[in-house]
């Protein structure tokens, strides 16, 4: 086996070891370790992606001496490698951009724990993407759940404590449901390996045996992971959790952790259950309905939020709705559109969180819109970063969000029927609402400051400027290189299945 094919294993073990080691290091060194780790992981995954695209194949990797149904196994393809590359880049920029805030807001003795959690979140995300075994997926769900709770309560004040508690309860409910469905699927099929489950599920579906348990199991997977990824009716923990924690934590939680859960659900539905079974049981309509409602309701909540961070948080609900609606169309084009939107939203949302914290710094630490007037001029880099990311989410051409909306509508046209009309309508309404709240914010940022409002402008530190420039480049590249990325996604998706 060529060395390059060991990269997923190297990346996962390296992230775990850095996570464990960071606990022993003082905060300032742990910070550097995390940044270096994210860069290395991004480079390794990018190399792997290029290699696999050239080879046009995916492969299985034994974790140990025993073949798959008995031992653990990884499975890597261009799709997983691309997603891992992007997530590690986002983590790199989020850690860089938020490190100044972490220094101020976190107890200096406990600063290294932030970086322990960031490293372990990176390890968990990669494991959930690469694993070919359902139970390994669950183990890393647990790590991510506890890690993200710790990330929320790193900044210790009343708000974060309560929101961490609420997140913990909701998230454990989700984990419990996922575990329950894993047990049910094991009882029904006798396997934990994804390919073997697929074969057994197809046989069960054809024979009509265990029809009710199978449906309930799929439903439990959907609700369990839906709660964890903040799908609309289960999103009540989200605004507080993202609104009051450190900017790094908000960025990582919204753009990496929730995406990892969605991708695990994606893997379960497309590869483990099989899209034909899901469509046959009409469960994709469940996805679609929840997704469409989330697209509208999330944007509505965002429009009447008074606080910048909370507005950005609520906008996540809407964007996650897009992803679920894409998955719910039940056709390949919809799934690829959902994958592309995951990339776009990751890059844009983390940029919004990091830059909104820099904008608040330039407005005497306030996050309300009346004080933020003129913040874009007081802190130019943050203003540009926020505007680019907002434009990307709204769907201004050249940027990624435009391509994503285009791909969604194309998918809607090829789906036809009710799906087409509902999706197009929801896209139109949601885009209008996006314009309303995001452009209103951008305009606010460049309006002259309120009369009598004076403040000392806190300049973002060098690392934060680097991170914001990085985010701008990432967002623009995702739009400019849309065709190659879509090619990788399409090839990767066909290999993934």
């Amino acid at each position: 086996m060529p060395l390059i094919r060991n990269f997923p294993f190297f990346c996962i073990m390296l992230s775990m070891m850095c996570g464990i080691g960071s606990a022993m290091l003082p905060g300032r060194i742990a910070r550097k370790v995390t940044v270096a780790l994210a860069a290395v992981v991004a480079a390794l995954n990018a190399a792997l992606m290029c290699h696999l695209m050239a080879a046009g194949e995916n492969y299985h990797y034994l974790m140990g001496h025993f073949p798959a149904p008995w031992g653990n196994e990884l499975r890597a393809g261009p799709l997983e490698a691309l997603l891992c590359t992007l997530f590690s880049l986002v983590l790199l920029f989020s850690a860089l951009g938020g490190q100044g805030k972490v220094k101020v807001q976190v107890d200096p003795n406990k600063e290294s724990i932030v970086y322990v959690m960031l490293n372990l979140v990176l390890a968990g995300t990669q494991s959930m993407l690469y694993t070919n075994d359902l139970f390994t997926g669950y183990v890393f769900i647990e790590i991510m759940t506890l890690g993200s709770c710790a990330l929320i309560m790193n900044r210790q004040n009343g708000r974060t404590m309560v929101s961490a508690m609420r997140y913990m309860i909701m998230s454990l409910l989700g984990s419990g449901m996922t575990l329950m469905s894993i047990m049910l699927i094991y009882t029904l099929t006798g396997h934990l390996l994804i390919e073997n489950i697929r074969q057994s599920v197809e046989v069960l579906y054809m024979s009509g045996q265990y029809h009710v348990p199978l449906t309930v199991t799929i439903g439990l997977f959907f609700v369990g992971l839906g709660i964890k990824s903040a799908l609309f009716p289960f999103h009540t923990w989200l605004a507080d959790a993202y609104g009051y924690s450190t900017p790094t934590a908000s960025a990582v939680l919204s753009s990496i952790v929730s995406k990892a859960y969605i991708l695990l659900l994606f893997k379960i539905f497309t590869r483990m259950i099989g899209m034909d079974v899901v469509v046959g049981l009409h469960l994709n309509d469940l996805f679609f309905a929840f997704g469409v409602i989330a697209m509208i309701m999330g944007s509505l909540s965002a429009t009447h939020s008074h606080d910048l961070r909370r507005m950005v948080a609520y906008s996540s609900v809407a964007q996650i709705g897009y992803i679920y609606a894409g998955m719910g169309m039940g056709i390949t084009a919809g799934l690829i559109a959902a994958l592309y939107h995951i990339l776009i939203h990751s890059a844009a949302k983390s940029a919004l969180f990091i830059s909104s914290s820099a904008l608040a710094d330039a407005s005497a630490g306030s996050k309300r819109f009346s004080d933020l007037r003129g913040a874009g001029r007081r802190s130019p880099v943050a203003g540009v970063c926020f505007s680019i990311a907002a434009m990307s989410l709204v769907g201004v051409p050249v940027l990624g969000g435009f391509i994503s909306k285009l791909v969604f509508s194309q998918a809607a046209f090829s789906a036809g029927g009710v799906h087409m009309w509902v999706m197009l309508l929801a896209l139109a309404v949601s885009t209008l609402l996006n314009v309303l709240y995001l452009f209103r914010t951008v305009i606010t940022l460049y309006r002259p400051a309120r009369e009598g409002f004076t403040c000392t402008v806190e300049k973002p530190d060098g690392a934060a400027v680097c991170a914001m420039v990085g985010f701008v480049v990432l967002n623009v590249l995702l739009g400019v290189l849309a065709q190659p990325i879509l090619n990788v996604l399409t090839t990767g998706f066909h290999l993934f299945m």
Partner: protein
């Protein structure tokens, strides 16, 4: 905010609002607050009072804000009509009943427990039972399964414990990491601890003198013989942790501090987890690239057998012991 403004007017003028409402003013917290822990260490008692007052105030704000943020609750809150709340409760109850019916019907349809033709009785379980001894060298099949066949999952599980310990540390640890330094918060916790826990209880000390060595020895036996019979790192570690906690309760922190401090905890956990990671990485790498690892399985049944399972069990046992003990001390007085 005027009542008669239309929705659109409100929406487009969010940045004009001057926040006359004091409630709104407090709802938005500043980005640049000091870490509370600094305050807490300066004057713990004053801080506690201030915090309680603040919390009470925040409680009210929270309720107000939740009503605003959560539209369903807001809807229920706005319905001053008498029927709204009972209807809401009734719907909740109906939902729960429906859920129970669904899940029960699922359970009824599942394959009967222990039947010979169940789907779980397949080639996976068969190979574990028939070839397990030969392939892993462990007499205890459970140990062979979790520490050899599926060792990656177990590494994940040990890391879950580590993450949990870090989270509790983050929440409850008081004072500086350096040994010997005592902050006011730590002194207060110490006083609190002494106040509630009687020291030098003769009966407890006598019992502990007899029991602790036995418990620790038994724990070590469970860990070391984990590959030979029922037991292993998780159960043995829990027993050893319980032994340490009993010792601490009988003789107090000062005596335990002679051999088990915060530093010991950090180093033991770190070294054990790293050893696990490195040993297994080597084994995974060899396995995946089809190389000979050169780890001999030995004679099944001997204490030095079954390859890596024994060292891995020791690592897991140490991790579990340390983390059990750390949980206890952190919850009791925020440090060791």
């Amino acid at each position: 905010m005027k009542k008669n403004e239309s929705f659109w007017q409100k929406l487009l003028s969010l940045d004009e609002i001057s926040y006359e409402n004091p409630l709104d003013e407090q709802l938005i917290d500043a980005e640049t607050d000091q870490p509370d822990s600094v305050l807490r260490q300066q004057s713990p008692v004053e801080y506690a009072f201030a915090e309680i007052l603040q919390e009470e105030k925040q409680e009210e704000l929270y309720i107000a804000e939740r009503l605003e943020a959560n539209s369903l609750h807001a809807w229920v809150g706005r319905q001053s009509k008498k029927w709204a709340k009972p209807v809401y409760s009734l719907l909740c109850a109906l939902f729960c009943v429906a859920l129970v019916v669904f899940l029960m019907s699922t359970v009824i349809e599942l394959p009967p427990f222990g039947a010979a033709d169940n789907p779980t009785n397949n080639e996976v379980a068969q190979r574990y039972l028939e070839k397990g001894l030969e392939e892993t060298g462990a007499v205890n099949m459970v140990a062979g399964m979790i520490l050899d066949y599926r060792a990656f999952d177990t590494f994940g599980e040990s890391t879950v414990l580590f993450v949990a310990a870090c989270s509790v540390l983050l929440l409850l640890k008081l004072g500086d990491h350096k040994d010997g330094e005592v902050s006011p918060a730590m002194l207060e916790a110490e006083w609190d601890d002494r106040h509630h826990e009687p020291k030098n209880d003769a009966i407890l000390q006598m019992a502990a003198r007899v029991l602790v060595p036995v418990i620790l020895l038994f724990g070590m036996y469970i860990v070391l013989a984990g590959h030979l019979g029922p037991g292993g790192g998780f159960s043995g570690g829990a027993v050893m942790g319980a032994g340490l906690i009993l010792y601490l309760n009988a003789f107090g922190f000062r005596k335990t501090g002679r051999f088990f401090t915060y530093k010991t905890f950090r180093w033991v956990t770190f070294v054990a987890l790293m050893t696990y990671a490195l040993l297994k990485s080597y084994s995974f790498f060899c396995g995946a690239n089809h190389l000979e690892s050169g780890i001999s399985l030995g004679t099944p049944g001997a204490i030095l057998s079954s390859g890596l399972i024994l060292p891995l069990n020791i690592c897991v046992g140490l991790i579990v012991m340390c983390i059990m003990y750390a949980f206890y001390t952190l919850f009791r007085k925020g440090g060791m």
